[in-house]
């Protein structure tokens, strides 16, 4: 049964992708993109990748769509109809597709246990985690400890993106002189009664769920990235409902920058502290007398760092886009 459901989802995925490319109206395309991400999340869930499904849903569907819509509001709605040289592009694309499909025949089949991927490094992780780090969720163990350096790099990718967006959107807007379109106190949604009431109800639970995901990372799917995204989307919902000024009052710009910088600094400092205590960079077992406990403490600390940075970054990016009109 699952197999039919998987095939159905995959075909739906292909259809949505083609629909996005062909959509004239950009707003429709962005909405289709959200559906595309949700389908992708569902596929991941079927393929036993719970953590990744949660991330894809939170970041892929949630945050990307918000940023796209923010950008759309500042640029054009529709795509100009122009016919570019489709022949050449079509031929390149079909050629590469055939090449890729040719390469699939010698790949190990889906779910084949003898595939080389399952022989070499993965069994070690599955067998060593209970002994060395003793936390149920092996993905968080690998993410937090075995390949912690990757995740550090990842935090700094988000950090760079946040700086980049702020740097780009802090330039003076040349078209600023003529009109200040929206009145100074942007009042959020106009016909706002129902969404405001429901929003105010929902908002605390979203943040609570975010915190749950943050600290539940070791036991089930979850972790810094997902938690940061969920909390950020919660606050963005608040900003959309209450209007950007009140949201900035709640989480001012300086706090956001402090969160972004603080999270990254926390993560790096954890590594540097382990260096000072005699281990290699990011070797948590030196953090406390009992190495297993040290590992767990290390993972919690860096997950907190990741969560803070991702939440701060996504908020800063949203506010940069939102504030752009009356800049």
């Amino acid at each position: 049964m699952i197999i039919i459901f998987a095939v159905f989802l995959l075909t739906l995925l292909v259809i949505t992708a083609i629909a996005i490319v062909r959509a004239e109206n950009l707003f429709v395309a962005v909405m289709l993109m959200a559906i595309f991400s949700l389908l992708m999340a569902a596929n991941f869930f079927i393929l036993d990748a719970a953590d990744v499904a949660l991330t894809e849903a939170a970041i892929g569907a949630g945050v990307t769509t918000v940023i796209f819509l923010g950008a759309l509001s500042l640029t054009a709605e529709n795509e100009k109809k122009v016919e570019l040289s489709r022949g050449v592009a079509m031929s390149i694309v079909t050629a590469t597709t055939l090449l890729l499909i040719y390469a699939t025949f010698e790949k190990p089949k889906l779910g084949d246990p003898e595939a080389p991927v399952h022989q070499h490094v993965a069994p070690w992780y599955l067998s060593e985690t209970p002994k060395l780090i003793d936390i149920p969720n092996v993905v968080t163990a690998v993410l937090g400890s075995f390949r912690a350096y990757d995740t550090l790099g990842e935090v700094f990718v988000v950090f760079t993106a946040c700086i980049g967006v702020l740097f780009l959107l802090s330039a003076k807007n040349p078209a600023d002189k003529q009109s200040r379109r929206t009145p100074p106190e942007s009042i959020g949604l106009r016909h706002h009664l129902i969404p405001k009431v429901v929003g105010r109800l929902l908002f605390p639970f979203i943040v609570l769920f975010g915190l749950y995901v943050q600290f539940h990372g070791e036991y089930g799917p979850g972790g810094g990235f997902q938690a940061g995204a969920i909390i950020a989307t919660g606050i963005i919902l608040f900003a959309l409902l209450e209007g950007e000024k009140t949201a900035l009052a709640a989480v001012p710009h300086s706090v956001m920058m402090a969160m972004v910088a603080g999270g990254a600094l926390l993560y790096t400092m954890v590594g540097v502290v382990t260096m000072f205590m005699g281990g290699n960079f990011l070797d948590y077992s030196v953090l406390s007398s009992n190495p297993v406990f040290g590992q767990q403490m290390g993972i919690i600390l860096i997950e907190a760092g990741v969560g803070i940075t991702v939440c701060g970054a996504l908020l800063a990016i949203f506010h940069a886009f939102a504030a752009r009109e009356n800049y």
Partner: protein, 496 residues
């Protein structure tokens, strides 16, 4: 905590520590000072690493003390030492020289973020060179690319934005191709550590996914290294970026992708895939020949000074790839040597352009007519760097040309002679386009342009230090040569 053990890790951790702090600094001069200090510190670490590598110490560092294929491993050998030196050296000299020029081009409020992006670009590039884990290289490639998009987008000219957008599109496609290639190899070998990959790929060598993976990685990295047909993003990106950013990017950004390409090709693919050398040569040799000839030809007719030098960079990358595609010890030595010498030559040229830009607004050739009388020192440095680019004896460029031609002649036969002709033709075109600049500067009348005075002392001193570096490494290239020879033997050593 004895620092010498952790040198390899510190090379990346120090800038990572500095970046969040710099963002929080408000004063623009303080942000610049912090960035320059960090860059200088990374330069010292790079020098320490090189000294260590020179007397035979091989740096192997396990992140989180997890053994190699399970955790992430850092490795520094001769080739990485050379590239590290260029990255940190270029960044330090560009920063020290460039405060006034940057201050003019970027608003005060935005400078802390700009300098944080600069330090992240430096950290990303150093991270790629130091890391020995395929996926880790992808992550750091993303950090350095995103940061360099931000740096290029800092350019004052409005045309910087479409240029950087094209740079983003090409860069992301290149990185994603690399990701697909690594994914396919991981699928067939089950490991991400490059050394381990080289060993385990032997028994799945000739299956189609591995061949397709080799294709994807090569195309992806060639795209990020702006090798000839995939170089379209480079000229505009370098032209419209702030002058000091061009100095930094021109000296090292594309060479890091070549570093990864050579490590992958010579460690993983060369020895295992049947006849991979032939594929490697047949794919890269014609491309590099086209790069040298066509890019130099375009540079001949270019009117904007910076775009002229950007096109010449595309040509010089052709030389580096030509050296490597000979797949011989001599060829590889020549190509690593040219990585080093070109960084110095191109770095000093762009520094001289930055000096010119202090007083001359638009950098078309007609705008710099007759500026040599008013700016003798700047033009002197530019001529010196130009000579090194051409490869006049006594300069660094000559040494790499000398090695390149001997490597090609050792190849022997018709191809050897043809390739020598290509190299010679390339350097002759270099003579012409460098002399065009000199002739405009020295002999064309000043005309009615406003009076021009010499560049401020700070940037001039650094330009001259790097220009004299050209001479020093021309007369005594012992450091660069020993490093490239051991790099070549390491790269070829894997390949029986």
């Amino acid at each position: 905590m004895n620092p010498t053990e952790h040198l390899a890790a510190l090379q990346v951790v120090v800038p990572f520590l500095a970046a969040p702090l710099i963002v929080l600094l408000k004063a623009k001069r303080l942000a610049w000072a912090a960035t320059t200090l960090t860059s200088l510190l990374t330069f010292c670490i790079a020098i320490a690493l090189t000294m260590g590598v020179l007397d035979g110490q091989n740096y192997q560092y396990f992140m989180g003390s997890w053994p190699a294929p399970y955790g992430i491993e850092l490795k520094v050998d001769a080739f990485s030492a050379v590239v590290l030196l260029i990255i940190t050296g270029a960044s330090t000299s560009a920063l020290i020289a460039g405060y006034h020029s940057l201050d003019k081009q970027i608003g005060a409020k935005r400078q802390p973020m700009f300098f944080a992006a600069w330090i992240l670009a430096l950290a990303g590039l150093a991270g790629i060179v130091v890391s020995a884990d395929a996926f880790n290289i992808f992550v750091f490639m993303e950090i350095s690319s995103l940061a360099s998009y931000v740096l290029v987008a800092g350019g004052p000219d409005r045309r910087a934005l479409p240029a950087v957008f094209k740079y983003l599109i090409f860069g992301t496609i290149g990185a994603t191709f690399y990701l697909i290639g690594v994914g396919l190899i991981y699928m067939m070998t089950g490991t991400l550590n490059i050394e381990d990959m080289g060993v385990r790929i032997a028994d799945v060598a000739d299956q189609s996914p591995v061949l397709v993976a080799a294709g994807f990685i090569t195309v992806g990295l060639a795209l990020k290294a702006a090798l000839f047909p995939l170089h379209i993003w480079l000229p505009n990106a370098y032209t419209f970026a702030p002058h000091i950013v061009t100095v930094f990017l021109a000296a090292c950004a594309t060479k890091v992708s070549l570093y990864v390409l050579f490590r992958f090709d010579f460690f993983v693919f060369q020895e295992n895939l049947g006849g991979q050398q032939l594929h490697f040569t047949f794919f890269f040799l014609p491309l590099s020949v086209f790069a040298i000839l066509i890019a130099s030809a375009v540079a001949l007719f270019e009117r904007n000074l910076k775009r002229l030098l950007a096109w010449s960079s595309v040509a010089q990358i052709g030389y580096i790839v030509l050296g490597a595609s000979l797949v011989s010890i001599a060829g590889l030595t020549a190509s690593v040597l040219h990585v080093f010498n070109h960084a110095i030559a191109k770095g000093s040229l762009f520094l001289a352009v930055a000096c010119l830009a202090c007083h001359i607004k638009r950098l078309r050739l007609t705008d710099i007519a007759g500026c040599a009388k008013a700016m003798p020192w700047t033009m002197g440095a530019m001529v010196l760097a130009g000579l090194s680019l051409i490869g006049v004896p006594g300069t660094a460029g000559f040494i790499s040309k000398w090695y390149l031609i001997s490597a090609v002649l050792e190849l022997g036969g018709a191809t050897g002679v043809f390739l020598t002709a290509v190299i010679v033709l390339g350097s002759l075109m270099a003579v012409i386009y460098v002399w065009r600049i000199v002739e405009y500067a020295y002999f064309k009348p000043q005309g009615k342009k406003p009076a021009v005075s010499e560049a401020p002392f700070g940037i001039l001193a650094i330009t001259w230090i790097v220009a004299i570096g050209n001479l020093y490494f021309g007369i005594n290239p012992e450091l660069a040569v020993t490093l490239s020879e051991s790099a070549a033997s390491v790269l070829m050593g894997h390949n029986k």
